[in-house]
């Protein structure tokens, strides 16, 4: 599903990712753990195609296709989703309008017809109910005045509506109380199936109590230094990064 080979990434001429390889197959959940500054968010932004994240070497293949030169929205069209650490406020744009525009942009990229307003409402109601989101929140402006937990819940609803093949969730668990954390975990688990892969980026083991990863990677200074099963997360928690690496 996602194959990253010997990736090097610079931001403003400073190398952040220094030769990273990663292979995620359909249906797998991977967690990348690491301290602040290890390059985790840089990896997420690079996969999503953000400007100013310059790939200086290596490749990113998604579904057998080199996506390195695709625009961010084209990557979304291919089936990629990025969950934000800090979801952004867009005043004046209702959540519903935002999601519908996003979904129809993706459908158009795939050569599909726009989804009708009625059909879209049906879909979004189901997804919002599954994630216990108030319908009122759908009518409010995107993330404006949302609490930290509400913002992350909103990310999960957007993910569910867009139904990606690979979701990269960048510290989606940070700053959440235990109830909100469970909602996020429910969202991830609902999305988890044989076709969808998930890449969790986190520096706490906490989320992994609710979402069982297939593979855990430890990232230090722009590289993956160790990979293992879910027991690696517990080991990290216990011994700290220095000793595990």
């Amino acid at each position: 599903m996602l194959t990253v080979r010997d990736l090097r990434v610079s931001v403003e001429n400073k190398e952040i990712i220094k030769g990273l390889s990663l292979e995620i197959r359909p249906g797998e959940v991977h967690a990348i753990m690491g301290l602040n500054g290890a390059g985790k968010s840089t990896l997420a932004n690079t996969i999503a195609g953000r400007d100013d994240y310059e790939v200086t070497a290596g490749s990113i293949e998604f579904d057998g296709k080199d996506i390195k030169d695709l625009e961010p929205h084209e990557r979304v069209g291919e089936g990629l989703f990025l969950g934000f650490q800090y979801p952004v406020e867009i005043p004046g744009v209702s959540n519903l309008n935002f999601m519908r525009t996003a979904l129809n942009s993706v459908r158009r990229y795939r050569g599909e017809e726009d989804m009708s307003a009625a059909e879209f409402m049906k879909l979004v109601r189901v997804k919002a109910a599954e994630l216990k989101m108030d319908l009122d929140m759908l009518k409010r402006f995107v993330n404006v005045g949302f609490s930290g937990g509400e913002k992350k819940r909103n990310e999960m609803v957007q993910m569910a509506v867009l139904n990606p093949k690979l979701a990269v969730l960048d510290e989606t668990d940070s700053g959440l109380d235990i109830d909100a954390l469970k909602v996020v975990a429910d969202g991830i688990n609902a999305q988890r199936n044989n076709d969808t892969a998930i890449l969790l980026i986190t520096h706490y083991q906490r989320l992994l109590d609710y979402v069982q990863p297939d593979v855990v990677h430890v990232m230090i200074d722009g590289k993956i230094v160790k990979s293992g099963g879910k027991e690696l997360a517990a080991e990290l928690e216990e011994k700290g990064y220095a000793d595990v690496a």
Binding site: H73, F84, I90, G92, V93, F98
Partner: protein
């Protein structure tokens, strides 16, 4: 390099250069270039005007000769050669069509391209419960088609070209024309008074709620033709009317002058809602061509508790100089101004409003949203004035500017003159750059870069857009997107 040229053209086509840039081949009836008393007489004679109107025009012309072109606005343009401009052009084809069938099909095709299917609207009118829009389509200088006239007539509403009104309702015209915007008000208004070609007259009788939205699509077509429209709307006691003006012009290399005058009069308890969607040709990427839009729009809230609301979405023209204003002369009257002004490439806009509070308990609201992209200049200029006899006046002003590019500029120039201590005046202003985070967030949800900009800008303008009549809000939203194409980066 023919191939490169072709590619450029294809790209231009795809990225949606000015969509309405086409020229209609209709035989024109033109006055010789230049301006003189003879030209004024020629125009008046062409329109078979009564003596009093000719004299009115000549008086304005003589006043204009002694006036100077204003230079205080934050706009730059080469000096206009008034002797190199046509002051009258009319399509030759028709003598006063009685119905759409009699209208030159070439003209109807123009409106179809603009998305105003007149014929279809007539069909729609037959649908029960459907909201109706009457269109008085202005092709260059002469109104060529008026729909729904019969139905309006039943309600007692008069909706016709101003030249017709001069003949049919001379008393109303004499009573009101030039009372809101006097002939000598400013240079361009005086010019308009001397040479105005045509325009729209609306009269809503006492207590009548106009049964449909009234709408005029202006279109400037002939090369080097100044367009000098006059609009006069009178709302009698307790009446209501919503009026929309939409403007598009085909692509031309020469700059074209547009100097219109709009006068609104609201009597006791009357309400006028005036909405404008303006997307005239803004010139090309290098600032070549485009319309000069020098317009005087003013409303007189003459009666008690009368209300006038201006809503404008301005995306076109190379240079805009426009301040739709309200003179609040009736006690308890209300003035509102909701504005979105978008400038891209080398466009310049100096626009805003004037709220003149003359009477007690008058209120005004100003919401202005300026969006600057490319290398454009966007200036809000507004005046809130409270006269000494006006007790308990309230005004709220909010001016927000959004910069889409780092090479564009936003300016805010508010003037506040208060001569009564009981007034409550609030002014808020913000300027911000479109945020990279917002853009990336939208793009990471599947929106293309331009789609993302359009969405963020539409959100920014929400408070203004919601004041547009429903039929036009969607169109205006699309227009914002089109106007900002190619603005990113």
């Amino acid at each position: 390099m023919a191939g490169t040229q072709e590619t450029r053209e294809q790209v231009a086509e795809i990225t949606g250069e000015y969509k309405y840039g086409f020229v209609t081949d209709v035989e024109m009836d033109m006055a010789p270039k230049g301006l003189s008393e003879d030209i004024v007489r020629f125009i008046s004679a062409k329109k078979e005007e009564p003596e009093w109107l000719l004299n009115w025009r000549l008086k304005a012309y003589r006043a204009w000769l002694k006036m100077d072109e204003p230079d205080w606005a934050k706009v730059n343009y080469p000096k206009i050669d008034y002797n190199d401009t046509y002051f009258y052009a009319a399509p030759k084809s028709q003598d006063k069509p009685k119905s759409l069938d009699e209208v030159d099909p070439e003209l109807l095709r123009v409106y179809e391209k603009l998305g105003i299917p007149l014929a279809e609207q007539e069909v729609l009118a037959g649908v029960e419960g459907a909201r109706k829009i009457a269109v008085d389509a202005v092709f260059d200088s002469v109104s060529v088609a008026t729909t729904f006239r019969e139905e309006l007539k039943k309600a007692g509403v008069i909706f016709m070209s101003i030249s017709e009104a001069v003949h049919e309702y001379p008393d109303l015209i004499k009573k009101y024309m030039g009372t809101v915007v006097p002939q000598r008000d400013n240079y361009f208004a005086a010019l308009n008074c001397a040479v105005f070609s045509d325009g729209t007259f609306v009269y809503i009788p006492k207590g009548v709620r106009c049964p449909m939205e009234l709408s005029t699509y202006f279109r400037i077509n002939a090369e080097n033709t100044g367009q000098f429209e006059r609009t006069l709307i009178i709302a009698e006691e307790g009446s209501y009317v919503s009026y929309l003006e939409g403007c598009t012009a085909p692509m031309r290399d020469e700059n074209q002058l547009h100097a219109a005058v709009v006068e609104l009069v609201a009597l006791d308890d009357a309400e006028i809602k005036y909405s404008t969607v303006q997307n005239w040709y803004p010139g090309d990427k290098d600032g070549k061509g485009g319309i000069y839009n020098f317009v005087t729009k003013r409303a007189l809230c003459k009666g008690k508790n009368s209300k006038v609301s201006w809503t404008q979405v301005e995306t076109g023209s190379a240079v805009t100089w426009k301040y739709p204003s309200c003179v609040l002369a009736g006690e308890g009257s209300v003035g509102e101004f909701y504005s979105v002004a978008v400038t891209n490439n080398l466009q310049q806009a100096d626009t805003g409003t004037k709220m003149i509070h003359m009477a007690p308990n008058t209120r005004s609201t100003i919401i202005s949203k300026g969006i600057s992209a490319g290398r454009s200049q966007n200036c809000y200029r507004g005046l809130v004035k409270v006269l000494s006899g006006a007790e308990n006046v309230r005004n709220y002003t909010q001016c927000d500017s959004l910069l889409v590019s780092s090479t564009s500029a936003a300016h805010t120039v508010p003037y506040i003159e208060v001569k009564n201590p009981t007034a409550q005046i609030e002014h808020e202003a913000t300027t911000s750059k479109i945020s990279e985070d917002q853009l990336f967030y939208c793009r990471a949800r599947g929106l293309g870069e331009e789609e993302a900009v359009a969405m963020i800008v539409n959100g920014f303008c929400k408070e203004v857009m919601q004041h547009l009549p429903m039929e036009f809000a969607v169109e205006a939203q699309k227009l914002l997107g089109i106007s900002l194409e190619g603005s990113v980066g």
